[in-house]
Amino acid sequence: MSSNSRFVTVRKYDPNFLRYLWGKTEKNVRAIPVQSLNVGLDDELVTFELKPIEEIAKPGFFLFFSTVIKLRSYILLLFPLFYIVAKNFADEKFTDPLALCFAAVATLFIYGGLNIRNDIADHISGFDRVNIPTSSKPILLGWTTASNLSKLSWCLLIVGILLAVPVLLLEHDEIKIVAVITVLLLLGQFLKKNSYKEKIWGEVILFLLMGIGLTSGFQEALGSNIDSETVLVGIFWGASVLFLVHINNFSHLLTSTQAGIKNTMTNLGFDRAKIFLGVWWLACIIGWFALHSSFGSTYWTWFTTAILAFWSIPLFIKLSQIRSPLGSDLMKIRSSAHKTFLMMVAIFFVENAWYIGTKLGWTN
């Protein structure tokens, strides 16, 4: 099988370096990084394979779009939305469905746009070349270029922002939430400490954005005020999402450490990171119990905590047994963590559906 691709090696200070990374090459080829040296340093060197487009397998539109916006991770966004809707419906505080609809759709667009921008940042910084990919990377597969993705991300972000404007007009208090979220996003984008190598500040921002940021944002959008439940659920959700991030970083522990990337997992090292993850998830289960004790019924508190704890056992076992920062056990832990997380969401969903049903009198 012959290939018409060729190679080119460029250094960071070469004007063509960014041109290749952004994919601004001849129209009929894709520049795919195949070998990198000193990633993230001033003397970074990348060898690109200039591959003719006709040699690249093209995905269907749905696969392409769902991969670039990371559709599978939308549950992280949709569940807090559902929870806040269910809670306020049960409490009879749901006063502005129109604003909430705008807020929800705007968030979906902005989230997709940010996911793409994150992928682009990883590609330009070299983060996606350092670690062994655990999911499809559209740019590295040659499906598209960073430049094209950037255009798509700006489209999604602009549509998302435009859709958010009516929310601010309908619910004035939402401005405070949007202002805080915007500051956090800008901090995440521009703070030097959140560079390619330094990821710890990014973890804190993610915890706030995906947790309290989302729950309080939706709470204000539907016409209610932020209360203790909104805040505590936000903290719980942020901690659970951050757990998935830690698990992901744990699966890249070796390669990230070699590249000098600093996050909680690389700071702890393999042995302590295992314990940390176990303790973190145990804290999430305790948080779940505390949250339900405060805001749920006794029956649901004990029943759901028991299911979650039981379902988490394989994860704890796998964490205690893993003995290599490379190898298939890492993938097994990722998979187990994701399944456990999904189970938690499923229980939460059923429980809240029950509360809605009770309110509507379906359970009588």
Partner: protein, 319 residues
């Protein structure tokens, strides 16, 4: 041909069994790594004494790693003979390996090139990291090729990189561009060598008659094993692990022996195609190297050109 790159004078004769152990260890080797050093060092006009030092350094490190490797892997044979830890006790094997590494540092530091000493220490450290990681994936039959590549880059490629870069360091040529190109070439050579070697385990181009399925039987899934098992079902992998011979392994690919054989051959071809891409990448770097070297040094290109044939395809180049 017996290969011996050390002098008995280097090691105290009053230590029981030490020289005998080294005699047996060094005599079976082909000395490929020191030949690779020569391929670079000769065109650079490096004097015989320095070349001997470089050759000794790389062979001492390599053989120290073999002494430790065999013990870690519990391999009973090395180069067709009893492994040192079996014949002379594990304690002596560890000490003999340590002694070689200590000797490397002693000889190199007396040469007086601190950058070379530092670089050599780095590759010894990489080698040990690779060994440590490899041991941690023994028994893991679901490890991916990409993960194994990371291990091989530390364990195998580090020595190839040293062979290419150390002669330039010895003559105090520290040009960043040059060393970056050599680093990348060494990485590819190490990977190709390892993959070619792993194929021998499956009787592919196994002209040297290496024992079959040795890695698999000792619980280690090598690069070709990881490649062929990538899309296998759990029962297929279980069957592969239990294979006592190649026929049993090939039967993992189907009940019909002819079809199974064909499917296995297809996997080998696909693996070769994948590695052809690496070879193309090597030649790309070779062209870059040619542009950096002075006319008198161009012989290095000629010397390095056939290496992919030797290391991956396991054949001597026709011209």
């Amino acid at each position: 041909m017996a290969f011996k790159i050390y002098s008995e004078k280097d090691f105290p004769a009053y230590l029981p069994k030490l020289n005998q152990l080294y005699d047996e260890l060094f005599s079976g080797g082909k000395g490929f790594r020191s030949k690779l050093v020569g391929m670079v060092a000769n065109p650079l006009g490096i004097d015989a004494k320095t070349q001997t030092l470089l050759n000794q350094t790389i062979e001492f490190i390599h053989n120290a790693s073999l002494l430790h490797d065999d013990l870690v892997d519990r391999s009973h044979l090395r180069r067709g003979k009893k492994a040192a830890w079996v014949k002379y006790t594990p304690e002596y094997a560890v000490l003999a390996g340590d002694y070689l590494l200590a000797r490397v540092m002693m000889n190199l530091s007396s040469y007086g090139n601190i950058k070379l000493v530092q670089y050599t220490s780095e590759i010894i450290s990489d080698l040990l990291e690779g060994e440590w990681l490899q041991d941690s994936v023994v028994g893991d039959f679901f490890v991916s090729l990409e993960q194994l590549d990371r291990i091989h880059n530390l364990k195998t490629a580090s020595l190839f990189k040293w062979c290419l870069r150390a002669p330039f360091m010895a003559i105090e040529r520290y040009d960043e561009n040059l060393h970056h190109v050599l680093e990348q070439m060494g990485t590819i050579l190490g990977q190709l060598f390892q993959r070619g070697d792993d194929l021998l385990d499956f009787d592919i181009r196994n002209d040297e008659g290496k024992a079959l399925l040795g890695d698999l039987k000792s619980g280690y899934l090598n690069s070709f094993g990881a490649y062929i098992s990538k899309n296998m079902t759990r029962p297929q992998i279980d069957q592969m692990i239990k294979s006592n011979n190649l026929e049993e392994l090939v039967s993992c690919f189907g009940a019909d022996p002819a079809l199974a054989k064909k499917a296995f051959a297809t996997k080998v071809s696909e693996f070769d195609v994948m590695n052809e891409k690496l070879i193309q990448l090597y030649f790309h770097h070779l062209l870059q190297l040619e542009q950096i070297l002075s006319p008198s040094e161009k012989e290095i290109i000629k010397n390095l050109k056939p290496l992919t044939e030797i290391l991956y395809w396991r054949r001597m180049p026709s011209s």
